[in-house]
């Protein structure tokens, strides 16, 4: 390979992995809800937009960061519980694809409401992280990306601890395994569902802030859901490790492809590359990298 720049390759790879973390972050919100309710919540992107927009609008009105964060979180919890009550519960026992379409409608409602309430202009969001690349042994790494990765890792750790060691968390895992059995042993599903939607709201808020700081808080923020979907397909809808690994894989592959293959295609391939990659993997492993393959009972 004449002229192959190893350091440059490494830089692209690291950059890709770090942006992959951002994908994972969005994907985790999906996985939480999918595991408990079997719903692919398309509205996750809209929730993310709503959270970021609410937060920014609150800080712009002079609220301090922690206060705005707390209020937004509270609003997200209320929103999550409302969604669960008003949309998903009436659709219990309906085919999963119906639920999916309902969340599609939901995303329209939330997107519309977010902008109707807070306006359509683009807001800048400054989290106080300077985006100066720094040099690690010749490889330039974005400070912001690193920060985002650290936040994402913390969030995953917090969620893992929560679901492993708290009563509600254990309930969540029981429900994910078998909702009927969980119900039979007296777990209160509504409490668990509410918790999960709250957790998904938290994930949406954190992801919304990180993404918002990077690309500006605006309508297109809800489109990051489209970045998360191939990650989910790759990692399996029901696997948090899958979401993380899938995000890293897609982030890295996408950046590498854009840099090394992009010219052959005339550029701009990131709009579909992740999907095609996910598809190729799926054709080999239909349940994704980490999803559970179920034995069909007849």
């Amino acid at each position: 390979m004449e002229g192959f720049d190893g350091l440059f390759f490494l830089e692209v790879l690291v950059g890709g992995l770090l942006s992959g973390v951002m994908y994972s972050l969005v994907a985790i919100g999906f996985v939480l809800i999918y595991k408990t309710s079997g719903v692919l919540n398309f509205a996750q992107g809209a929730m993310l937009l709503f959270a970021a927009l609410t937060f920014v609008s609150l800080t712009e009105r002079g609220l301090s960061f922690p206060l705005a964060f707390a209020i937004t979180f509270a609003i997200m919890v209320v929103l999550g519980i409302t969604i669960e009550r008003t949309v998903l519960r009436p659709l219990t026992n309906r085919p999963p694809i119906t639920l999916f379409m309902a969340t599609l409608g939901l995303s329209y409602v939330i997107e519309g409401a977010a902008q109707l309430i807070w306006g359509t202009q683009v807001h800048g969001l400054d989290l106080g992280i300077e985006d100066v690349p720094f040099d690690v042994g010749g490889v330039f790494i974005s400070q912001f990306d690193l920060f985002a990765a650290a936040v994402a890792a913390t969030l995953v750790a917090v969620l893992s601890v929560f679901f492993r060691y708290t009563r509600i968390g254990l309930g969540f895992r029981a429900v994910a395994d078998d909702p009927f059995a969980a119900l039979a042993v007296g777990l209160r599903l509504p409490v668990i569902w509410a918790t999960v939607w709250a957790a998904a709201g938290l994930v949406a808020l954190v992801a919304g802030l990180l993404w918002g700081a990077r690309v500006g808080v605006q309508f297109s923020l809800s489109l990051v859901v489209l970045k998360a979907l191939p990650v989910l397909v790759l990692g399996g809808f029901d696997s948090i490790p899958g979401a993380i690994v899938g995000g890293l894989l897609i982030g890295a592959a996408e950046k590498l492809a854009e840099v090394y293959l992009g010219d052959y295609f005339g550029g701009g391939i990131e709009s579909w590359f992740a999907y095609v990659l996910a598809l190729v993997v799926l054709l080999v492993r239909p349940a994704g990298l980490f999803g559970q393959k179920r034995v069909e009972r007849v």
């Binding site: 692919l40 949309v87 009436p90 659709l91 026992n93 309906r94 085919p95 999963p96 694809i97 119906t98 999916f100 379409m101 309902a102 599609l104 409608g105 939901l106 995303s107 329209y108 409602v109 939330i110 997107e111 519309g112 409401a113 902008q115 109707l116 359509t120 489209l226 979907l229 191939p230 989910l232 397909v233 809808f237 295609f265 005339g266 550029g267 701009g268 391939i269 709009s271 579909w272 999907y275 095609v276 996910a278 598809l279 799926l282 054709l283 239909p286 994704g288 069909e296 007849v298």
Partner: protein, 354 residues
């Protein structure tokens, strides 16, 4: 325990039949008579341009998607991509093949869309449900990208914009809104009739069998893989032709960005609101989707006056549309078609009582 099993079977909905008393063909024929004879005389240009032409194109797209999603049970989020393929293929066939009649361009455009649909339908052989739905997004993004990127498709025009050619049918030049309306109406009528013939055939039964119980379908000898691919191909053909109508009869100037994900969702919404697995549902759904933004804006400006600017209108449209979807899924999962049937039966019994 088993006695309750029947309640758990999803989608156990009655195949609604046309009202008793009148022969089955009476209503479609009456509708067609009105559409061909009365509408051209009565309607205004505004009605053609703003309502009837988009209604016809979207109805046809709804019919196409309904074959795939409603009958064969394969959810697709990439319908707009197949519309785009149809539109751009027709444009290029018309441009590049000397002496090809318009009908030829349309058929070839449909076949092109079918071929692309077949290719993106291949994952359906291994993937189900959400995995498949997400994978159809690949078609959406890839096609839009390709049409923008390669200017050959748009004959080197800026950002992929194409202008529709003059429409010649059987020596006549179709001009003006009325002409384009009749042209679109004819295409839609023919394809809808053929779709109807298809869904009541053994192949249509196979679609439903695959949708309702794939294992059982395979066991009784339904060629499952072939059936799925056929559903993708036929559906894409129809949606592709709908794309031709969209570009040639309705807008006359289109760009790839017009066939975006929102358009795909719009067609999916038409199918949901109209009713899955009904041909006429697509028309009901399209009528609602086309009419309601206009109604909403009139209503909004009437009630709220100046506060109701275009931004607010846009947002409230999204909210109402989203809420409508949820409402239909919760309250009337069989869509407007089922609602219409109930209404007709009720009127029927009321009349008989007199």
């Amino acid at each position: 325990m088993t006695a309750f099993a029947t309640d758990l079977i999803p989608g156990s909905r009655p195949e609604t039949r046309l009202s008793r008393g009148l022969p089955g063909w009476a209503l479609p024929v009456t509708t067609l008579a009105v559409a061909y004879l009365a509408v051209p005389l009565l309607a205004t240009n505004y009605l053609f341009e703003a309502i009837l032409l988009p209604f016809l194109a979207l109805s046809l797209a709804g019919v196409g998607l309904n074959i795939l999603t409603g009958y064969a049970g394969q959810v697709s989020l990439g319908s707009a991509a197949f519309m785009a393929v149809g539109a751009y293929a027709a444009y290029n066939f018309n441009l590049r093949v000397e002496g090809l009649p318009l009908i030829g361009s349309i058929v070839l455009a449909g076949l092109s869309a079918a071929a692309i649909g077949l290719a993106f339908g291949l994952p359906s052989l291994r993937l189900k449900g959400f995995y498949l739905a997400v994978s159809t997004l690949a078609a959406q993004f890839f096609v839009q990208w390709a049409l923008t990127k390669f200017s050959w498709f748009s004959n080197d025009s800026a950002s992929g914009v194409i202008d529709a050619p003059p429409l010649h049918v059987a020596g006549l030049t179709v001009e003006g809104p009325v002409g384009r309306y009749l042209f679109a109406l004819t295409v839609v009528t023919v394809l809808t009739f053929l779709s109807y013939r298809l869904v009541i055939s053994q192949t249509g039964r196979n679609f439903i069998a695959v949708r309702d119980n794939e294992t059982a379908a395979r066991i009784i000898g339904v060629p499952v893989l072939k059936t799925k691919l056929l559903a993708f191909a036929v559906s894409s053909f129809i949606i592709g032709v709908a794309g031709v109508l969209w570009a040639f009869a309705y807008l006359r100037t289109v760009e790839p960005a017009g066939f975006n994900l929102d358009r795909s969702f719009q067609i999916l919404f038409i199918v949901i609101i109209g009713g899955l697995a009904t041909i006429r549902g697509a028309f009901f759904g399209a009528a609602l989707i086309v009419a309601f933004p206009l109604v909403l804006s009139r209503f909004g400006s009437f009630v709220l006056g100046d506060v109701f600017d275009s931004g607010v209108l846009d947002m409230s449209q999204r909210i109402v549309l989203g809420a409508l979807i949820i409402l239909f899924l919760v309250l009337e999962p069989d869509g407007l078609a089922a609602l219409a049937d109930r209404l007709r039966r009720r009127i029927g019994t009321a009349l008989r009582r007199r």
